[in-house]
Amino acid sequence: MNPASKAYKRQKMLKAMYPYFLIAPALAFVMLILAYPVVSGFIGSLYTYDMFTLESEFAGLNNYLRLFTNPRFQNSLLRSVILAGGTIGLGLFLSLSFALCLNSIRIFKAFFRGVSLVPWLVSGIAAAVMFRFLFSGNGGLIYVLYESLGFQAVSWLGHSGRAMLVLILTNTWFLCPFAILVMFAGLQTIDPNYYDAAAIDGCYGLRTLWHVTVPLIKPMIGISLIWLSFASFSIFDIVLPTTGGGPGRATEVMAVAMYRVAFHALDYATGYAIMTVILVINIAMSFVYLKLFRV
């Protein structure tokens, strides 16, 4: 083909457009279903709606002011922080321990790694239902354990503090596998020479863990932290079937409050505002972790 001809030029133009064509479908999905709702939700949080006339009015940051002075939202923010804090602490400890174990054992490695991943395959609802049964007064394992050890059985899901504890345990069980896998992958990349060097310098046991292992897998710990806090701050699947936000509002975390406010009370403006708060908290926390751990 003649390089100067129009047809050649058109073909060349078309070739240069290929990557854009290839990206277009994926981009269209992401923009329409993921980006558009965030933008429209944020804009929606700046307006107030009249339920009867369906008119909206620009309200600036008034919705947020109302939100932060609303005791129900303050309560849900506090519950979210407790749930996330408990999950992050317990989850980090358990997943680091499990990852260290997986890295140390020499036989049945694949089996135990498989076991550590099982909760990842289970839906949040199934996890919540199983834990609810585990802690239920009608044949739950914990109840049976209490009875067989001679203790007075207590109600777990009917007590506000213990219901939160059950949620933290469920959530940790549900979210740990990913953190374990990430930290395990990090542990496997550590050069064993570091441990030899540490042993020569007289460093053993927990001190090796603290001074050698942890600094070396710092980025993986950061990723696990991001994952744990992200998932716990927006947790929804686990809470609804386990406690349904109860007893009272003792476990009504932000996502549940948002769902109820929007779909039960039909107060979309407040729902949008809570949605924005959840997003901002998530993004801010990941920035903090990225800075701290230099992921």
């Binding site: 290929y18 854009y20 290839l22 990206i23 479908p25 994926a26 999905f29 992401v30 279903i33 993921l34 980006a35 558009y36 709702p37 965030v38 429209s40 939700g41 929606g44 174990c101 140390s104 135990f112 790694r113 076991v115 550590s116 991943l117 099982v118 990842w120 395959l121 289970v122 839906s123 949040g124 609802i125 199934a126 239902v129 049964f133 009608n138 044949g139 049976v144 354990l145 740990c176 896998l181 990430v182 992958a185 542990l187 441990y195 042993a199 990723i223 701050f233 929804f236 699947d237 079937p241 948002m258 769902y259 979309y268 729902g271 949008y272 949605m275 959840i278 997003l279 998530n282 993004i283």
Partner: protein
């Protein structure tokens, strides 16, 4: 981990072998790691095992459990499973879950193969911006999207439909799938594409006959991650469906727990087990792809 290669080769001293007490201590000191491993393993599988055993028990037996020995069902029966399977809506709900897992995965992986190929092979203007535009939405928690997406659904007239669920499930799966696939494609030598181009292959032929067969492990990884996400999804199906016609297994499980007055825990547990079984089976068959995929998705 603390036993280095050298330490492992060392044999116990003779004196230790003679003294059984010291030998015991030696064995424990070398294998203590099994203690936390076993404890953690028990913690991880107990909820599922307890649920599994209850699904074989009768209601009376569940309620009368008093000691740990009641863990094993005395007269195991499949009554609960029979009841779940005989229930008229179960096939509908199971079909919906399967349909959504397959349709949304196919759409998401197809779109991600194209996008992943573009990001792995082409240098073009706005490449980084577009890459971020596709990847960053991954950090959005899906529950935060339900209100605006609900309004969008109403304005599009797609209430209570599998189509809307397919679209939303695909969209939430695309960021991760694109990322995983772009990584796999980038690892394949460019020479393959070039050789095919010289032979006169078109872009589609390169993708279909070369790239997809060669990067099969990566595509399986992406497929599994999408299937798992769709199979276990809850917030969207809760917010976007009202009738049984588009309901999936997790939502039905949630309703099952809510609706029954005196809870027939054997039926609830049988339903739970049936709803997680397909994923567990996929996992047992394809474990190594899953491990690879999760790790790849996490470490950028």
């Amino acid at each position: 981990m603390w036993n280095t290669a050298k330490a492992r080769q060392q044999k116990p001293f003779k004196s230790i072998r003679r003294n059984s007490m010291k030998r015991m201590m030696y064995i424990i000191s070398k294998n203590w790691v099994w203690i936390p491993t076993i404890i953690l393993t028990i913690m991880f599988i107990t909820p599922i095992l307890w649920s599994l055993s209850a699904s074989f028990k009768s209601m009376v037996e569940i309620y009368s459990a008093r000691t740990l020995w009641d863990f094993l069902p005395k007269n195991p029966s499949l009554r609960a499973y029979g009841e779940v399977l005989a229930w008229k809506d179960f096939p509908v709900v199971f079909f919906n879950s399967t349909f959504l897992a397959i349709s949304s995965t196919l759409v998401a992986v197809a779109a991600s193969i194209l996008a992943g190929y573009a990001f792995a092979r082409y240098a073009f203007r706005w490449r980084h911006v577009l890459l971020l535009a596709i990847l960053i939405p991954r950090i959005l928690p899906r529950v935060s999207l339900i209100i605006p997406l609900y309004e969008l659904m109403v304005s599009l007239g797609l209430m209570d439909s599998r189509l809307w669920l397919t679209i939303t499930y695909s969209a939430t799966a695309i960021p991760l799938a694109s990322w995983v696939l772009a990584g796999f494609f980038a690892a394949i030598p460019n020479d393959l594409d070039e050789a095919a181009t010289i032979e006169g292959a078109s872009l589609w032929q390169i993708l279909w006959y070369i790239l997809i067969p060669v990067s099969w492990p990566g595509i399986v990884t992406a497929l599994i991650m999408c299937i798992r996400e769709s199979w276990n999804e809850f917030p969207f199906v809760l917010a976007f469906t009202t009738s049984v016609s588009a309901r999936t297994l997790p939502y039905q499980l949630f309703l099952l727990r809510e609706s029954v007055g005196v809870q027939d825990w054997s039926v609830v547990n049988a339903f739970t087990i049936l709803s997680i079984l397909p994923m567990l089976m996929v996992f047992v068959i394809l474990q190594r792809y899953i491990v690879k995929g999760v790790t790849l998705g996490a470490i950028k």
